[in-house]
């Protein structure tokens, strides 16, 4: 069993299909919707946590791709210019999901992208503007 977060971008034409239902029924994947933005007739974006057997998740992702849904691991959509980070801690103040934390020994920033819920509060909170999230 693995657990991994994916960003799904739906084209306008696939907005009315019960795709997540098939993920559950056909591939035995436990899904957890963490964030959803659906604009009927335009586009939809979803942050999904998929939990299941590795091969089932791969098949599920393929199923989505076959249905014109762009499906990418969340960590590929988060861009953080780590080399410029000064470890000030401002982003950890707003990260209630616990993805951004300070290491209590080194006081360096640690970023567990798989805990991110795409609340996007870190983007303005970083005084150096080092975060970008490509969700939509």
């Amino acid at each position: 069993m693995i657990k991994k977060r994916y960003v799904l971008n739906f084209p306008p034409e696939s907005g009315d299909k019960p795709l997540s239902y098939h993920l559950v029924r056909d591939y035995d994947i436990r899904i957890n919707i963490l964030k959803a933005e659906v604009y009927p007739g335009k586009r939809g974006s979803l942050l999904l946590e998929l939990q299941g057997k590795k091969e089932n998740i791969e098949k599920g992702v393929q199923y989505l791709t076959d249905h014109q849904v762009i499906c990418e691991p969340l960590d590929k959509r988060i861009h953080f210019q780590e080399e410029k980070c000064i470890d000030c801690g401002n982003c950890t103040a707003v990260c209630f999901a616990g993805a951004l934390t300070m290491n209590r020994e080194s006081w360096k920033l640690e970023f567990d992208k798989n805990k991110c819920v795409v609340c996007e509060l870190c983007i303005p909170a970083c005084p150096l503007h080092l975060f970008e999230i490509d969700f939509r």
Partner: protein, 387 residues
């Protein structure tokens, strides 16, 4: 009573490479098992440091004279307004200055761009005089074309600072970072037991003329900082429990490194600059040894509600609690986050320690100590005369 060490004796030992130098964190660790008397005998200098946003910072720049010359009466650097009331080609650019049309790029960014060797557009206007006939100039400058480039910060390195929370139902954006509603986070700013002015709370060794680490080079304390307040309440360890003393510092920006100066922009607040400061504290006697031994568990600070007018105090916590990740405020567990970089402060303290050990940094006795018993005036609003 152990022998009292002099600045000269300590400098002699530093030159010979025989001095014992520890960081303030190392000495606090040592103090868990060793008393101040022994520390005074064994340790010569303790290094302290901080790397945080210090809004009251800026740079003095002399642009050099053009031909024909201009008396610059309005000056912009990359569009950021600079002070124009200093002779013909002198200026001061404040870290927080900005063009309101472009609030996320300010004086601190101009300073950083120059420091990184980038070209910056200088635009200036004058009325034209007999000796300065020119009325307008637009050109590019960089760190090599300007004459003096001096960091001069009127208020840095606050001795302690408040913890910020927000009890309201709306998120607020402050210089202490983004404060979530319902007191769902708390932010704090100093480096605790590593912080310079907390290790010499009575300012016995930090005064006018103290040589310091500033932005990656040697700089100096030149005066007490603005809003210098020495009569704030202190705890049983003699440390003020809120923001108190400050220092004004100066140094040659041409020798500084972008690693220890960083322009920042706080959403819906404005521009500021992170400044790296390290201060060596000579262990002259047992009293100084006792002061630098202070630990995070003994340094307290006030929790203030930044969401409510007058920022009422909600409690008092230690830096040990703050660094643990959670504090208790009015019985509620609140997650904490730093807004100044302890990792970088440690790097500065270690760098300064190396300079001292290598004999390339001399400690200096203050030429004059700061005033005692100071407090602050607030701005009273009296009726201004019309016309």
């Amino acid at each position: 009573m152990p022998k009292i060490k002099t600045y000269q004796e300590i400098n002699q030992k530093l030159k010979q490479g025989k001095a014992v130098v520890l960081t303030a964190e190392e000495v606090s660790q040592m103090a868990q098992t060793v008393g101040p008397e022994e520390i005074a005998e064994k340790v010569d200098v303790v290094t302290t440091a901080t790397f945080g946003a210090m809004c009251s910072s800026g740079a003095i720049i002399n642009f050099g004279h053009a031909s024909p010359p201009i008396r610059m009466e309005k000056i912009r650097l990359n569009g950021v307004p600079c002070y124009e009331g200093l002779a013909a080609v002198d200026s001061y650019i404040g870290a927080t200055a900005c063009d309101p049309e472009n609030p996320s790029y300010g004086g601190a960014h101009v300073i950083q761009d120059l420091l990184e060797g980038k070209d910056v557009v200088l635009e200036a206007w004058g009325k034209g005089t007999d000796c300065y006939p020119r009325k307008y100039i637009k050109t590019k400058i960089n760190i090599n074309t300007i004459n003096e480039f001096t960091l001069f910060n009127p208020r840095n390195a606050y001795q302690n600072y408040n913890v910020a929370v927000n009890t309201t139902s709306k998120m607020i954006h402050t210089y202490m970072g983004t404060l979530l509603p319902g007191m769902r986070n708390a932010t704090y700013s100093t480096s605790g037991e590593l912080s310079p002015l907390l290790n010499d709370p009575d300012l016995r060794t930090i005064g006018i003329g103290t040589r310091i680490f500033l932005g990656g080079t040697q700089g100096f304390v030149v005066w007490n900082g603005t809003q210098f307040h020495t009569t704030k309440p202190k705890n049983e360890y003699g440390v003020p429990v809120t923001n108190a003393a400050t220092i004004a510092v100066i140094g040659n920006l041409k020798e500084m490194s972008p690693e220890y100066l960083q322009a920042v922009y706080y959403e819906k607040y404005g521009v500021s600059m992170f400044v790296g400061i390290g201060i060596p504290i000579p262990i002259l006697d047992e009293e100084m040894a006792r002061r630098v031994s202070i630990a995070n568990s003994q340094i307290e600070t006030s929790v203030l509600d930044y969401g409510t007018d007058g920022t009422p105090k909600l409690g008092q916590v230690t830096y040990q609690e703050l660094q643990s990740g959670f504090i208790k405020v009015n019985g509620k567990k609140v997650r904490t986050a730093p807004v100044s970089s302890l990792a970088k402060a440690r790097k500065i303290a270690a760098e300064l320690k190396k300079w001292l050990q290598n004999g390339i940094f001399e400690i200096s006795q203050p030429v004059q100590l700061f005033p005692k018993n100071t407090s602050l005036n607030s701005l009273k609003e009296t009726e201004a005369e019309n016309d």
